[in-house]
C-alpha cells in the first residue's frame, strides 16, 4: 500500500490542478465560448434528431451477438 500512496503523491497532476486554479479568471471567457459552441451543437441536433423519438427507440431491436 505504501507504494501506491507514493505513486499517487508523485503524480504530476497535483501541480497542474494548482495551475488551473490560478488561471480561473481566464476560464470564464473560455466557459462562454464553450457554451456558445454547445448551443450551436444543440441547434444542429434539433434539426437532425429522429422525429418520432419514442417509436424510433422502441423499434431499435437487435439480435444478441458476441
Amino acid at each position: 500500500m505504501a507504494d501506491r500512496e507514493q505513486v499517487r503523491k508523485d503524480a504530476p497532476r497535483r501541480q497542474e490542478q494548482e495551475e488551473v486554479a490560478e488561471e480561473a479568471p481566464a476560464s470564464s471567457e473560455q466557459g462562454e465560448a464553450l457554451k456558445a459552441e454547445l448551443d450551436d451543437l444543440l441547434d444542429e441536433i434539433d434539426e437532425v434528431l429522429e422525429t418520432n423519438a419514442e417509436d424510433f427507440v422502441k423499434s431499435y431491436i437487435q439480435k444478441g451477438g458476441q
Binding site: 497542474e16 490542478q17 488551473v20 441536433i45 434528431l49 431499435y60 437487435q62 444478441g64 458476441q66
Partner: protein, 502 residues
Amino acid sequence: MAIPKIVGIETEFGIMVRGTLDWNPVSASSLLINAYVGTEVGSVDDRATPIAWDFIDEMPGADARDIMPPEFALPPEVETHLVNAVLTNGARYYVDHAHPELSTPECRDALSVVLYDRAAELILVESMRAADEALPPGQEIVIYKDNSDRKGNAYGCHENYLLDRNLPFGQIITAATTHFVTRQIFTGSGKVGTELPGRTRSEIPYQITQRAEHFEEEVGLETTLKRPIVNTRDEPHADSQKYRRLHVIVGDANMSQVATFLKVGTSAILFAMLEDGALTMLPLDDPVPAMHQVSHDLSLSEPLRMADGTTMTALEVQWNLLEQAKAWADSHGLDAVGESCGKLVLERWEEILSGLESDPMSLAGQVDWIAKKRILEGFMARHDCGWDDSRLGALDLQYHDLRPAKSLAAKAGLETLVDDEDAEIAIEEPPQDTRAYFRGKCLQKFADQVVAANWDSIVFDVGDDPLRRVPMLEPGRGTVEYVGSLLEESETVSELLEKLGA
C-alpha cells in the same frame, strides 16, 4: 522480452432497415456487404474482391485453460454459410450473429488500429450508400456503431493482442481483469438507462459503458451468453507453439479516435510489461460487481475493494498502472508497442487521467461517455426535460449513427488522430508492417487466382496443379520489408510461389 504487440479489432455493428417493417437482420447484413463487395469488382481499382474466407483453421472452441468445455458451454458455432469477404486492405468483412462485422487487418501499433478502424467506418458508410441503390425506394439500411439495443441484447467490439505463449495464463487473467474494469472510465461510450434486470432508469439514468452490464463471469469461453471479463478462446491464428492471441470482449465500440487509441494502446503496453515481468498486479476482490460499479459511478470516486483488503478508486488504479508503465518505458524501451506510438500513448493516458480527476467535462472532445453526457445534459437544459424523456434515448442511439448527416458523434467536435484522406487510402491499402500486407497485396495483384484466404494462410489456384496453400504463421512477417520486392518482381502466382520457396 516482450514480443511486438500486433493488434486488431473486430466490430459488430447494429443494423436497421428504415421504411419497412418486413426485414430481417441477416438478409439486410448480407445485402449490405454484397452491395459493397459488388461495387467496381473487376475494375483496376476494385477495393474489394469477393474472395471467400477459408474456415479450415477456425477452432473457436479451444480453451486457453487447457480444459474441455463443460457440456453446457457449447463452443461458438462457425457460420460458414454467410457472406464472408476478404478486402484488399487485409480486413475481413462478414455477417456474424445477425450483424455486419468488420475485422481490421493486423496492425503494428495503436495508431494504425485507429486508422483502420476509421477506414472500417468509411467502408460501412459506402456500404449503406451502395445498399440503398439495391433497395426499393423509401427503404434505407442504417448502421450504428454501438454495443447494445438498450433492451438486453449486446454485440461486441473485440480487441486481439498477440502474446508470448510462455506467459502463464493466470497472470494474464489477473492483469487484464484489473485493467479492463478500471479502463472503462476512458473507454466507455455511455448509455442512457440500465439493462440489469430489476433496475430502473430512475435509479441509473446514465452510465459510463454500454457493455459492462452484459458481463456475468470472471473467466470463460463464452462470448454470447454469461459473458466473461477474460475470454479464454485459444485460437492464435499464428504459430501456436510461440504465440497466443488474447481475445478481449469487454470493450465498447468507440466513436472517439482518442478513446480507441487509448483502449488499445494502454492494454498493449500492459501486456508487454507483463511479458517483461515488469507489472505489479493489483488484483480486485470481486471483479464482476466492480465492473458494474465503475460503469454506474459517474462521480469516478467510489472505492473498489482490492484482493488485499484495501480500497482504490478506478482512477487511482489507472494512475498506478500509468506510473508503472512510465517506469517500464524508461527501463525497457517502447519497441514492443512501437516507439513513437508508445510515447504518445503514455502522454495521452496521463492527460486523460488528469482531466478525469480535475474536470471530466474538459474531455468532451476525447471521451465518448463525456461527449454524449454533454449533449444529453445540454438537451435537457434547453428543452426543460428529464432523463425519462424518450428523446434522450433517441439521442443516445443517434450518437452512434454512421450516416454522416445524422451522426451526433460526427457533430460533437471529437478530436481526430488520423486524417480522412489517409483513412480513404487505408480502405484499399493494407498496413505495410504486418502479414496483412502480403494478404492484401496478393488480393490486389492476383485476385483471379486467390481461391480463399484467412488470417494465417492464402490458397492459390495456379492452373493444372492442385491448389497451393501458403501459410502465414508469423504475424510480423509478410511485411513490405520481407516480401515487398518479391511481390513486385513476380508477374504470376507461379513465379511468386517459386520465389517464396512454397
